[in-house]
């Protein structure tokens, strides 16, 4: 398993431009319909936003893990980190936005040196649902993070954590050796202070993404299996499981190509394309802000450096009304969000 990002390894698929070129050629030249073509067929092109509900801030690409399928290409060698200045600009936006959910992601957002300051300030602004996407192992990575569960509780943070499987083998294969044991300990720590328990207001959700070149199955059925196994084996409770389809970008795209699975995977995504999922794709109710303050339709477009098609492109110039008039940027990776029951950072959409 790699210990460095694609960027540090100077791999071709570290470059957004190369990824987009790859996704628009080959089978999408003469065999499969482009995503734009699918939208045109249902008269949904250009794709337009609905009411803004979620403001997702990427606090930086640094992470203590180097997961096989990370769409961010995050890792310890990534130095892109949101500054306090950009965070202050975000706070100004949070004061006036109509979005009811603030969603902090990364990398490992907790590794941003201003993470706690930002959470404290943002929590004062009365956000309805305040999500931190925690990889769990960060809580056990270093003594300075051991009190994170208490910190989350103090600010009523909704914790959303990745967990590819309820068995050690599959989890460690995707996320690194020792990740499963640390994740289990972190979940037990969160449970111990009330997170994820029945009737507790402290929400703990898990995110499942497949550990290979296949699509996720039914979200409800997988949630039942996860709940049963984690409860029986480790006494762990959680609220909901979100299934997320791996989008063919960055490290996952590199994996698909290297393992000779790219073509089959894209066929699967196109065959599973569900027009009903287009109605609720997350780019229609979300805005994504990068570590350096640029605005994107979603975290995936951020990684592909596809900035919003709007005169307003940076958080310092934020104007929600004007941003709502934009058209959403799409490419073939968008098939990942419309396969089967659809996929988003909040799980299935259909």
């Amino acid at each position: 398993m790699a210990t460095k990002s694609l960027l540090a390894r100077k791999k071709l698929m570290a470059k957004a431009e190369e990824q987009l070129k790859f996704l628009s050629n080959g089978i999408f030249k003469d065999e499969l319909p482009t995503f734009r073509h699918q939208l045109e067929k249902i008269e949904d092109f250009p794709l337009k936003p609905k009411a803004l509900e979620i403001l997702q801030l990427n606090l930086g690409y640094m992470c203590n893990q180097v997961c096989e399928h990370c769409h961010v290409d995050a890792g310890p060698d990534r130095k892109e980190i949101m500054t306090r200045g950009t965070m202050q600009q975000c706070l100004e936006v949070i004061k006036t936005t109509k979005a009811h959910t603030l969603d902090l992601t990364g990398g490992a957002p907790e590794m941003n040196p201003n993470f706690r300051w930002f959470v404290e300030e943002a929590a004062k602004l009365g956000v309805k649902d305040f999500i931190v996407r925690s990889n769990l192992t960060i809580i056990r990575a270093n003594k300075k993070y051991y009190d994170l569960p208490e910190f989350f509780k103090k600010h009523n943070v909704h914790v959303v954590s990745s967990m590819p499987h309820w068995t050690k083998g599959k989890t460690d294969k995707q996320r690194g050796s020792g990740v499963f044991d640390k994740s289990i300990k972190a979940l037990q720590d969160l449970n111990a202070i009330g997170y994820g328990l029945p009737d507790s207001p402290l929400k703990l959700d898990l995110v499942y993404n497949p550990s290979g070149a296949f699509l996720p199955s039914n979200q409800e059925a997988l949630e039942q299996d996860f709940k049963k196994a984690l409860k029986e084996d480790f006494g762990i409770d959680f609220n909901s499981l979100f299934t997320i389809t791996n989008l063919p970008i960055s490290r996952y795209l590199d994996y698909l190509i290297a393992s000779d699975n790219y073509e089959d995977y894209m066929y699967k995504l196109v065959e599973a394309y569900n027009p009903a999922a287009v109605k609720n794709v997350m780019c229609r109710n979300t805005l994504s802000v990068s570590w350096d303050g640029w605005l994107y339709d979603c975290d995936f477009n951020q990684m592909l450096e596809m900035k919003v098609e709007s005169p307003i492109q940076h958080i310092k110039d934020y104007n929600e009304e004007q941003l709502q008039e934009r058209s959403i940027c799409v490419s073939q990776h968008c098939y990942g969000c419309t396969a089967g029951a659809g996929s988003s950072c909040q799980g299935s959409v259909v």
Binding site: H165, Y208, P210, L215, P216, D225, Y267
Partner: protein, 111 residues
Amino acid sequence: MADSYYDPKDLRKFPKITDWNQELGDKFFEYYGKVFEKGALSEREKSLIALAVSHVVKCPYCIDAYTQDGLQRGITKEEMMEAVHAGAAIESGATLVHATQMMKKYDKLSH
């Protein structure tokens, strides 16, 4: 003759069998879909049965399809291998139980 009789890409053409007989093809796919819906058995249990049978009937397309289906459902490789062994045990048992015929015939023909 093609280099490989079984081309994995041909699995994608499965729905096209209706091209040459729409009525029977449609009836088959309707039945197939219904069989794998949740009933007295869960979809997960049916997926494991299908995987075991795929091996017994030695269908490469079915093995590909139900290995993938199992992965999607979170079925572990240990569960998959046990299912294949269950199928293999029945298949080899079906061979071995015929040994009783051999033994019966042998005894009848021998002094």
